[in-house]
Amino acid sequence: MQSETIKLIIDSFPKILLSGIATTIPLTIISFLFALIIGIIIALMQFSNNNFLKGIARFYVWIIRGTPILVQLFIVFYGLPRIGILIDPFPSAVLVFSLNEGAYSSETIRASLQAIPKGQLEAAYCIGMTFPQAICRIILPQAIRIAFPPLSNSIISMVKDTSLVSNITVAEMLMMTQRIISVTYEPFILYLEVGFIYLIFSTLLTFLQSKLEKAFPIYK
């Protein structure tokens, strides 16, 4: 490998990595936390006996899952200003990723809730618990344990999907890479490099996932 190429890799690595630490990671973590809250609420709406709540939840999931995330980003960032709603790039990205991942997470959590035997809820009722108490103390802890592996996969996917926010001017890793390419004209090396950094993030998350899975209490 030529020394110029090595120099380019060494020089660009901290810049790309820094934009990942400053933008990609916070965007992923913040969006995923919001998505988890949305996902739990939507899943509980679908789990409830209230047809109105179920209807709203299903409509939301239908809309979000049926449209590409890039289109959703464009609607929020480029479309909303047409009706007077102007949101900065980073909050726009957080909003879209939270709503998008919220819909997918809700389906994972809903399936996990449905996997809990009906008798668990009935036993909670029989000792006098209310529905919210039964959900918070008995059902959700078991459902989250089931949902944890697929939710972990979602967060890993989300790290990679954040590359799309370069389309709405958020300076994350891909945009930083493209900026460097525009002055160095070395797309092959630099795209390989940013791919490698995404791989590092994904590997770290996979490692964290396996550690956290082991932290859950063991029961069958």
Binding site: Q120, E122, I127, Q142, Y219
Partner: protein, 247 residues
Amino acid sequence: MLTVKSLNKKINSQNILNDINIHINKSEVVSIIGKSGAGKTTILRIIDMLDKADSGIMTFNDKTYNLQNLTMKEILKIRQNIGFVFQDFNLFLNKTAIENVMEGLIVVKKMNKNEAFEIAKSCLNRVELNDKYNSYPFELSGGQKQRVGIARAIALSPSIILFDEPTSALDPELVDEVLDVIKNLKNSGMTMIIVSHELHFVKNISNRIYFMENGSIIEEGETDKIFNNPSNERTKEFIIHSMKNYE
């Protein structure tokens, strides 16, 4: 103590319960017997508000409730005074034996952890599970699980305990350990309604029996009368047939 009058329930236009009338006095043990699908479990589930009745009146602890129109407050009040022991245990899978027993005391009775722990300990000791406090349900045998279920029910000091086929999911050699616990509860004066196919046990423990068929109570009476001199031909057939199967 507990009276159910004119209880009716339909599912998909099929009558599940027809004009059921049941009464139980304090410290009495009443058993409901009959073939599978007769509606025995449904009665228990309606009494503990797990299923909704189409019509019926229930008087419990001197208060009368219209089973068709109950508020959430009434439902919670009824449930907090009734213990329920399930056929398939339904222990909280994410909690140890002691946590299963403590849960209602902490969340429903609002006790602090130490107080709840002491009560839970004494309940588990009462069902002879002193060495299983920290075992998860998957680490327990069927009989032990059912005894945790009973400890969970008695921990809340209910006025009455409903047993829904408490031994049906157990291996034959584990049945006695559960039945012994229920006998001890009777000796302590606990009011109980038992749905069971263990007719020998039902005969030994019950003060009165209700015999059901196709959603209706065909016959009721003192245990001796039902077992030795039933007035209904169907009761007689059922008892002779069931007792023979156990011999």
